[in-house]
C-alpha cells in the first residue's frame, strides 16, 4: 500500500463488502458462541426472523413509510427555506452580518431538547416531528450554504463583471451554478443528520414509525426487533445517500473533473 494511491472500483467494492462480512461474522461468534446473553444481544438469524415477522404480520412496512415521509418532509421544508437565506447571506455581506451570529447560536441549540416544547406547541402529531427535523437541519444548512456561496472565486466574479453581468446576473449565472455541486453535497450530509432526528422524535410520543417500534420492543426486551429496526434505518440511509451522490454526479459532471 502506498499513501493516496487509488484502488480500482472492483477492489473498492469488494473491500467495502468484506467489512460487512467481518462485522456479521464477529456478531455471530459473539452471540452463537454464547459469549453474550440473548437478553442483551440477539443473534443475526433470530434478528432476521423477527424482522420478517414484523414486516409480514405486524405492518412494519407502514412504520417505515411514515418515517421516510417525515425525514423527507422535514428536510424538504428546511432545504427550501435555507437555500434562499443561505444564498442571500453568502452573496450580501450586510445580510450575513445580520443573521450569521444568531444562526451560529441557533445551530448549537440541541434539537432534541426542543421536544418537550414542541409537544407543548404542536402536540404529538406530524407537525412536531417535522418541526424537530426542521430545527435540526435548517440552521446547519443555512450556515453551510452561506459559506459555500461566500467562497466563490473572486477572479470568476471579476471576469463575469468584465463580460457585462449585473448584480442579479452575477448571483444567477455565477454564484449559484458555481456553488451548486457543493450545496448538493451539503444537502446530502445534512439529510444524513435528519435521520438521527426523526428517530429521536419517534422515540418520544409517536404511534407510528421505526422509532416507535423500537420503543415498543424495548418494553418487550425484544433486542432482535430493535436491532432489525436500527439496521433498516442504516440501509435506508445508505440507499438515499448513494442515490443522492449518484444524482449529484449526473447533474454536475464538471465538478467531478480533475479530482
Amino acid at each position: 500500500m502506498k499513501p493516496l494511491t487509488a484502488v480500482t472500483p472492483g477492489t473498492r467494492l469488494a473491500l467495502g463488502i468484506a467489512f460487512f462480512v467481518v462485522f456479521v461474522v464477529g456478531w455471530s461468534i459473539a452471540t452463537f458462541g454464547g459469549f453474550v446473553s440473548k437478553t442483551f444481544l440477539a443473534d443475526p438469524v433470530s434478528m432476521l426472523r423477527s424482522g420478517w415477522t414484523l414486516l409480514a404480520s405486524q405492518g412494519f412496512g407502514w412504520d417505515i413509510g411514515w418515517t421516510v415521509w417525515r425525514v423527507f418532509g422535514g428536510f424538504a421544508i428546511a432545504a427550501l427555506l435555507a437555500l434562499p437565506l443561505g444564498v442571500a447571506m453568502g452573496a450580501y455581506k450586510p445580510v450575513e452580518a445580520f443573521f450569521e451570529p444568531f444562526v451560529s447560536f441557533a445551530r448549537y441549540l440541541p434539537a432534541s431538547a426542543f421536544i418537550p416544547l414542541l409537544i407543548l406547541w404542536a402536540g404529538i402529531g406530524e407537525a412536531q416531528k417535522l418541526a424537530l427535523i426542521f430545527i435540526g437541519s435548517f440552521f446547519q444548512l443555512v450556515l453551510m450554504i452561506a459559506v459555500i456561496v461566500g467562497n466563490t472565486r473572486r477572479d470568476l466574479v471579476e471576469a463575469a463583471y468584465t463580460l457585462g453581468v449585473g448584480d442579479r446576473g452575477l448571483i444567477r449565472r455565477v454564484l449559484l451554478p458555481g456553488a451548486a455541486p457543493e450545496i448538493a453535497e451539503a444537502l446530502r450530509m445534512v439529510l444524513g443528520w435528519a435521520w438521527t432526528y426523526v428517530i429521536v422524535a419517534e422515540l418520544i410520543g409517536a404511534s407510528t414509525g421505526i422509532g416507535h417500534m423500537i420503543t415498543d420492543s424495548q418494553a418487550l426486551l425484544a433486542t432482535d426487533q430493535i436491532i432489525f429496526g436500527i439496521i433498516v434505518i442504516g440501509v435506508i440511509g445508505l440507499i438515499s445517500d448513494v442515490l443522492f451522490a449518484w444524482l449529484n454526479r449526473r447533474l454536475y459532471p464538471w465538478a467531478q473533473l480533475g479530482r
Binding site: E158, A159, Y161, T162, L163, G164, G169, G178, W254, L257
Partner: protein
C-alpha cells in the same frame, strides 16, 4: 484626435488595516488610440496591473479619471473585455458556453450566440473542443478560450493582464503569434500588461515602460516594426536594438525596486 481611452492623472494608494499607506501608482497619464496595440512593461509590483484593473473598473482610483470614448468609467462593463493571468473560465460551462457568456447576458438569440462563438472557436484554433469543460483543457487552450470569450463580446478595448504569464515558453510564443494574428485581422484596440520585454516589443505598436513602485510612466516608445509580424522578426537587428534599449530601461527599475525592498518581496 481624441484617443479611444484616456487616462488622466490616475493615482492609487492602498491603505492597509493599520492605516499605513502604500502608493502603488503615481499620477499617470496615458492615451490609447483606436486600433492601437499598447503594451505596458514594468517590473513586478510596479502598479501596471493596478492601472489595468482601474481601467477595467475592478478597482477605483484614489484620484484621477479614466475616459472611454469620452465617457468616465465608474465600474466594470462589457465595453472593456479582460483576459486575466489566472484561469478564469467558468468551470461549469463548456468552451462554447463560456464564449457565449457575454452574448447571453446581453440577451442575444441562441442562434446568434452560437454563430459568433463558433467563429471565435475557429479563430483561436479550438475546433473539436467546443464541448469540453475547462478542466479538460491545457493552460494554453484555456487562455485561448478566455481570449475568444472576451472578443465574442465585441468590446471597444481588450485589456490583458499578463495573459500568457502562467504558460510555458513555447506555448507563450505560439499564443503571442495567435493574438497578434487576430489583432491584425480584427483591428481591435488592445492594452496589454507584461513583464516580458520580448513579448512587449513583439506584440506592441507602442511600449510604455513603468518605473518601480510607486509606478509612473517613464518611457513611451513606438515600435516601428511593420505588420504582419512573423515570429522571425524577433531575430532582426531592429528588434534586437529596441529590446536592448528597453532592457536597459527596465533593468534600472528592477534594481531600484530591489534596493527599496531588499527581501525581494
Amino acid at each position: 484626435m481624441t484617443p479611444l481611452l484616456a487616462v488622466h492623472g490616475l493615482a492609487r494608494t492602498f491603505t492597509s488595516r493599520d492605516g499605513s499607506k502604500t502608493p502603488a501608482l503615481r499620477e499617470t497619464d496615458l492615451g490609447v488610440a483606436e486600433n492601437d496595440f499598447v503594451t505596458i512593461l514594468g517590473p513586478s509590483g510596479c502598479g501596471k496591473s493596478t492601472l489595468l484593473r482601474i481601467v477595467a473598473g475592478l478597482d477605483a482610483p484614489t484620484s484621477g479619471e479614466v475616459l472611454l470614448d469620452g465617457r468616465r468609467i465608474e465600474g466594470p462593463g462589457a465595453d472593456r473585455g479582460m483576459v486575466f493571468q489566472s484561469y478564469t473560465l467558468f468551470p461549469w460551462l463548456t468552451v462554447l458556453d463560456n464564449i457565449c457568456f457575454g452574448l447571453r447576458e446581453r440577451g442575444a438569440p441562441r442562434v446568434e450566440q452560437l454563430a459568433v462563438a463558433n467563429g471565435f472557436v475557429a479563430k483561436v484554433g479550438l475546433v473539436g473542443f467546443e464541448h469540453h469543460y475547462p478542466k479538460q483543457l491545457s493552460g494554453g487552450m484555456q487562455q485561448r478560450t478566455a481570449i475568444a470569450r472576451a472578443l465574442a463580446n465585441n468590446p471597444r478595448i481588450l485589456l490583458m493582464d499578463e495573459p500568457f504569464g502562467a504558460l510555458d515558453h513555447q506555448t507563450r510564443e505560439l499564443m503571442q503569434e495567435l493574438l497578434l494574428g487576430i489583432w491584425e485581422a480584427e483591428k481591435k484596440t488592445v492594452l496589454f500588461v507584461t513583464h516580458d520585454i520580448d513579448e512587449a516589443v513583439f506584440m506592441g505598436s507602442r511600449v510604455v515602460v513603468m518605473s518601480a513602485r510607486p509606478g509612473r510612466i517613464k518611457l513611451d516608445r513606438a515600435v516601428p516594426i511593420a505588420h504582419p509580424r512573423p515570429y522571425s522578426v524577433k531575430t532582426t537587428p531592429q528588434f534586437s536594438e529596441i529590446k536592448a534599449e528597453l532592457t536597459e530601461q527596465v533593468r534600472v527599475e528592477v534594481r531600484a525596486a530591489q534596493v527599496e525592498s531588499p527581501a525581494g518581496r
